[in-house]
Amino acid sequence: MDLSLIIMQLLSGVALGAVLVITALGLTIVFGMLGVVNFAHGALFMVGAYAGLYLASLTGSFWWGLLLAPVLIGAFGMLIELVLIRRLYGRSIDDPLLLTFGLSYILVEGVRIVFGSDGIPFPTPPQLIGVVDLGIGFFPRYRLFVIVLVAVVLLALWLTLEKTRVGLIVRAGARDPTIMQVLGVDIGRVWLAIFGLGVGLAALGGVLAGPMRSVNPEMGSLVLAEAFVVTVIGGLGSIVGAVVAGLMVGISISMVALFAPEMATIVMFALMAVVLLIRPQGLFGVRGRTA
């Protein structure tokens, strides 16, 4: 086994991890702000993939699907927060979790009714078919695009959170919502926007993953478990944690797949168990909040 193969596999892991990062980020941002873990996150990832596929075939262009699906599904997420989750603030922390779990049933079955139970192939956009010569080997053009796009989205998110007034309100709201209300910020609107953003990120992950794995109504259940593993390893509520853990999990899966394919789905759970035994709050988590 030569070095270039290992490096190529490593890059594949980064592409896989990039989708995980985007998906887990949505989960972790919503938790950090609202204290809610969205159990419908995987289902919304799946709905995002279908929406992207549908919009791409409607407009005839992958790019419209990539742009519109996260926006539309994000808006749908805001509707969910407004109509359902808002009623549960102040009740047991288990209640939003249970509600979103019920919601995932509705979403999965809804997609089955509209699109059928069988998987649908998600065509790679024509501009991104083929491979790129990286000097040491050939790498699929689409995967390279995924890595670059996720990096851009992360940078934009980071700049918004750290450098703008909106970001300041969001960060302060995560620390102490009561004080923010005292200062005259409508925290309800911030929560609404953040929930929409989280769901939009799930949908973006779904569209990006589409051409890399088959699109079917059940795809969300594995994604949910993966996103949980990533956020638990990184530390729930930590953005840096989601990025580091997402890449770590993606690379581990892809490297193990090279040497022991049958262990590939199992390795991330083992990784999580080890991290929990050493650091129950996750790599970048704050102790006392959840662990």
Partner: protein, 332 residues
């Protein structure tokens, strides 16, 4: 963000009175279950209510009484079923040895998963139990030579149950129901004993106020681990019952959808009530039966009904009924 505790303080009746109520609740539950095959449209449905009732009852110990929302109970339900099937089919162990062995092995699995997951709190616990249960699912999928992989476990059939010279034809649906009811009765007696014991008071104290329980000198972490194992043991007995009933073990039994179904059942019926799990299992399965008669998409209705329960009826059918009767504090 701070969330107030969901439950109100629990008033404790005098020990004598409590003991009487507890003895009655097992006998009353058994009496209702004994009539079940004649109340429901089919014997198969009644057997399923019995099996899922036991699984959900074990889960209720963890979620309802201790307040730990696990999304991984399917691991123990499935483990009980797989271990029973493998013991009978592969090693030719008689049923009366296979069932206790399966429960014991499943309890060991619960100890391993509990060691990792009970170190975490709150939402973390739900996520970690879900992930670890999915790990069990993938291990069962990969270890196809033992478990049959995607096709499920086949090749073991129990057609007669014999003990101490008595023989029962297990293929007869009525016999099958009452044999399995004996298992359920045993599980109910065990659960009632746990709840009636000082340990039962400790787990409820942990639910109401974990820090205060710790301040009172209770070892909260160890109590959580023990209750996780006990809960897994009872749910795994339900798995054993399923294996004996179906003579196959489908792989889906380990999937997190099954864990979710268990959560739904306990909430529909009423968490933190003794008979609620059976009410929840019965309502879920009847709902599934009725709705799937006119549409294959029954899950969308089940999901919607569940959402409405979380929003408007968080105490479930049986729990709300008990509250309305003003006997909620006796927690029958």
């Amino acid at each position: 963000m701070t969330h107030p505790s969901s439950g109100e303080a629990v008033a404790k009746p005098s020990p004598g009175g409590l003991g009487r109520v507890l003895d009655q609740r097992v006998l009353l539950s058994i009496a209702v279950l004994a009539l079940l095959p004649w109340l429901l449209p089919s014997k198969a449905l009644a057997v399923n209510v019995l099996i899922y009732g036991v699984v959900v009852m074990g889960y209720n110990l963890l979620f309802g009484y201790t307040g730990l929302l696990s999304f991984g109970q399917a691991a123990f339900f499935g483990a009980g079923a797989y271990f029973t099937g493998i013991a009978i089919g592969r090693y030719g162990v008689p049923w009366f040895a296979a069932v206790p062995a399966a429960v014991l092995l499943s309890t060991c699995l619960a100890a391993a998963i509990g060691l990792v997951s009970t170190r975490t709190r709150g939402i973390y616990f739900s996520m970690v139990t879900l992930a670890l249960a999915q790990l069990v699912y993938y291990v069962a999928l990969q270890a196809a030579s033992f478990t049959g992989g995607e096709n499920g476990l086949r090749g073991f059939t129990v057609d007669r149950i014999s003990l101490l010279g008595f023989q029962v034809n297990f293929l007869d649906p009525v016999n099958k129901y009452y044999v399995l009811m004996a298992f359920a009765a045993l599980a109910m007696w065990f659960q009632s004993r746990i709840l009636n014991s000082p340990f039962g008071a400790v787990i409820e104290a942990i639910r109401e106020n974990e820090q205060r329980a710790r301040a009172c000198g209770y070892d909260v972490e160890r109590s959580k681990l023990v209750v996780f194992m006990l809960s897994g043991a009872i749910s795994s007995l339900g798995g054993c019952m399923l294996a004996l009933h179906l003579s196959i073990v489908p792989l889906d039994i380990l999937h997190y959808q099954t864990s979710g179904m268990i959560v739904m059942m306990v909430l529909l019926g009423g968490a933190r009530s003794f008979f609620g799990p059976f009410v929840g299992a019965a309502s879920f399965l009847i709902l599934e039966d009725v709705i799937s008669l006119w549409t294959p998409h029954w899950q969308i209705f089940v999901g919607a009904i569940f959402v409405l329960f979380v929003l408007f009826l968080p105490r479930g059918i049986w729990g709300t009924l008990l509250d309305a009767m003003g006997s909620g504090k006796a927690r029958r």
